[in-house]
Amino acid sequence: MAAPQAPTKPAKPGETSMPVIWAKQLGRLIGAPIGSVIFAFIIGAIIVLITGGDPIQAYQGLFCGGIGLFCTGDLYSSITPALEISSTIVFATPLIFTGLAVALPFRAGLFNIGAQGQLTMGAIAAAAVGIHYASWPGFILLPAVLIVGTLAGAAWGGIVGVLKAFTGAHEVVTTIMLNYIAAFFLYYLLRGGPMQLAGQPEISANVGAGAQLPHFLNGNGQLFGQPIGVYQAHTGILIAFAVAVLFYILLKRTALGYEIRAVGQNQRAARYAGISVKRTLIITMLIAGAFAGLAGGVEIAGLSHQLTIRYATDSTGFDAIAVALLGANAAIGIILAAFLFAALRVAGPVMQGNANVSQNLVDIIQAVILFSIAANFLRTFKIRLPALRQTPPGEDAPMVATTVTELEDTEPSEPAEVGDTA
């Protein structure tokens, strides 16, 4: 079919003021995520209700256990809000890193399911350095641990990028394979392999004291009625914030970020503008891997101080997908989403322990958030995926999405929006 051009009404200056446009954009940006979260909580409440639970008690538990609010009544007054907040910070830290590691490739049109494996490799490398050079002073050892973790993650992510760029191997499959390989490598190391602590399978020795990130609260006294040592929140969260800022700067303020976004939006136009798509994809995956690898390094240095099988068995790298999507692939959104998911994660056991509602409710809520975002995904975030050359005008522009990874792609023809507000 000959594609008829559908010229749109020219924007008349003054017709729509910038604040209105900004407000609309903001609404569009945060409307869906917030709506999705509310929707998911409603579904969760229904599930609790029809399985004979008390949703109010359950959600009180989620609030109290996650962010220390509403810790009242028989069930929750014994909870120390500060401790829960501290734990939420602890769990949010790796989610921010890995959320960024999923979001950056999303921006370039790649779906990184491999943050888990990249984190695993980062943790392995960081722990290996931290243990082997345990006697080094902190000002050398700590940076070394973090840098090595970062590099290992970058290498693991880079494999995905290279395979994608040069052989077209689908990154969803390659990342799944690399996740398994990393996991089994970790198991090997900790089950009879070279890093297992003697007589203690599944954990390694501790890294040197110099490799440990300081906690926010130190000392031997009591705080909020609890020994200070229980507040495990560590300065890794600051590194996470710094990386989020870096992510923002990279995307919005650097030529590279400009190119990454261009490749994600319109590969064809990017090629016309002289951007090397292959190179950009590889660099994107290297950086994404670095973020996830740093997550592993920071967890070793800040929290566990040792390598354990959690670095393959927990679901951080997968939760990161939901975090990135809920966070609209933007730095601030990812931080907020990471805190939300961490809070849910921390609150789950509180809810189960105190209100006897299975903590798996948290998984259900996460999944429903993802669903409702996915169904509205394109329209909300304008992650361009679709290959729709012509929309029969008159219908509203369909939500169209295809695999995030098409090498050739075109823009959906959507109606102009400035004119619409008139």
């Binding site: 398994y180 997908i321 996460q366 012509q390 169209v400 999405a401 295809t402």
Partner: protein, 316 residues
């Protein structure tokens, strides 16, 4: 030298191949589902969740009815139900099919674990009674054939069902009208539409079929190979099936070969008592092999042309 001897010894162990076939068929069922779904143009990485739902349903129903066949039917239906969600979200709402699949997987994990705790008050279901398990068939006389007997004639009934389905799906896809239409819709939905084929019906049907097959796999896992339900017990098998399908170039036979390779990997790990190598390192092998194959050393794998692309009528 000694290692080579050990390997040779391992390779002539019937148990190795018996487990290979069993694990292979367990992966084959969702892989066949994936083949059908993706041949019709809908990417399906939700086999994991559909399988898990099937496993849960099988054990829950077996606990109540004690009948393996009813349990299996319900498991198949439960997998199909998950598939309906995926189909509606990705066909009707044209959502990103991968994200929808990821959401299904998380949802299936959450809902099954939640119900598992709720129904059994955190105790878990009891192991399914032998009478409620899918039976192993010991085919008389034939199972006494040395080496081949245990491999081919001493298997769970679902292994035979799976092999039958392998042939059936291969035949359906490449020899029947329905298969022709599924492939047409997955390659070029516009062309199929102009030829008078209902693209949406074909896609809905194909996605649901993948759910039914995954549900069957769940039943096979939970009340055939084992007799319990554990939270998240599919343990990534749906993802492996997905990889096997791509490895097998979107054909049933090819997928089966890939499933056997993954099955062999599992089996070697289990049978390595004669082999002096770390199990965990051995476990990496099939994944590395898949990666190498995907990297194009063996040949590029090209998906159906419209795989993953929602169809909008009237577009070109």
């Amino acid at each position: 030298m000694q290692l080579i001897g050990q390997i040779l010894h391992l390779l002539i162990t019937p148990a190795l191949w018996q487990t290979t076939l069993e694990s292979g068929v367990l992966l084959l069922l969702p892989a066949l589902g994936g083949v059908i779904s993706e041949r019709s143009g809908v990417v399906n990485i939700a086999m994991e969740g559909m399988m898990l739902t099937g496993a849960f349903a099988a054990v829950a129903v077996a606990e109540v009815t004690g009948n393996p066949w009813i349990s299996t039917l319900v498991a198949i239906a439960a997998g199909g139900l998950m598939a309906v969600i995926h189909a509606v979200v990705s066909i009707r709402f044209r959502a990103d099919q991968i994200i929808s699949g990821v959401a299904i997987n998380i949802f299936a994990f959450g809902i099954t674990a939640f119900l598992n705790s709720k129904i059994t008050n955190f105790q878990g279901f009891n192991p399914v009674k032998p009478s409620a398990q899918l039976p192993y068939l010991h085919i008389p006389i034939l199972d006494k054939i040395p080496f081949f007997g245990p491999i081919f004639f001493d298997q769970n009934i679902i292994v035979y069902v799976g092999l039958f389905l392998l042939v059936a799906v291969q035949f359906m896809l490449f020899r029947t009208r329905l298969g022709l239409r599924i492939r047409a819709v997955g390659e070029h939905p516009q062309a199929a539409d102009t030829a008078g084929i209902n693209v949406y019906s074909i896609r809905y049907g194909s996605v649901i079929a993948s759910g039914l097959l995954s549900g069957l796999a769940g039943a096979f896992l939970a009340i055939g190979i084992t007799n319990v339900f554990n939270d998240g017990m599919t343990d990534g098998r749906g993802y492996i099936a997905l990889a096997a399908m791509i490895f097998g170039k979107w054909t049933p036979i090819g997928s089966f070969v890939a499933c056997l390779i993954f099955g062999l990997g599992t089996s070697i790990v289990a049978n390595n008592s004669t082999l002096n190598v770390s199990r965990d390192l051995l476990s990496m092998l099939p994944y590395i092999l898949t990666l190498v194959v995907l990297a194009g050393l063996v040949g590029k794998s090209i998906p159906p042309a419209a795989d993953g692309q929602p169809y909008t009528p009237g577009s070109e």
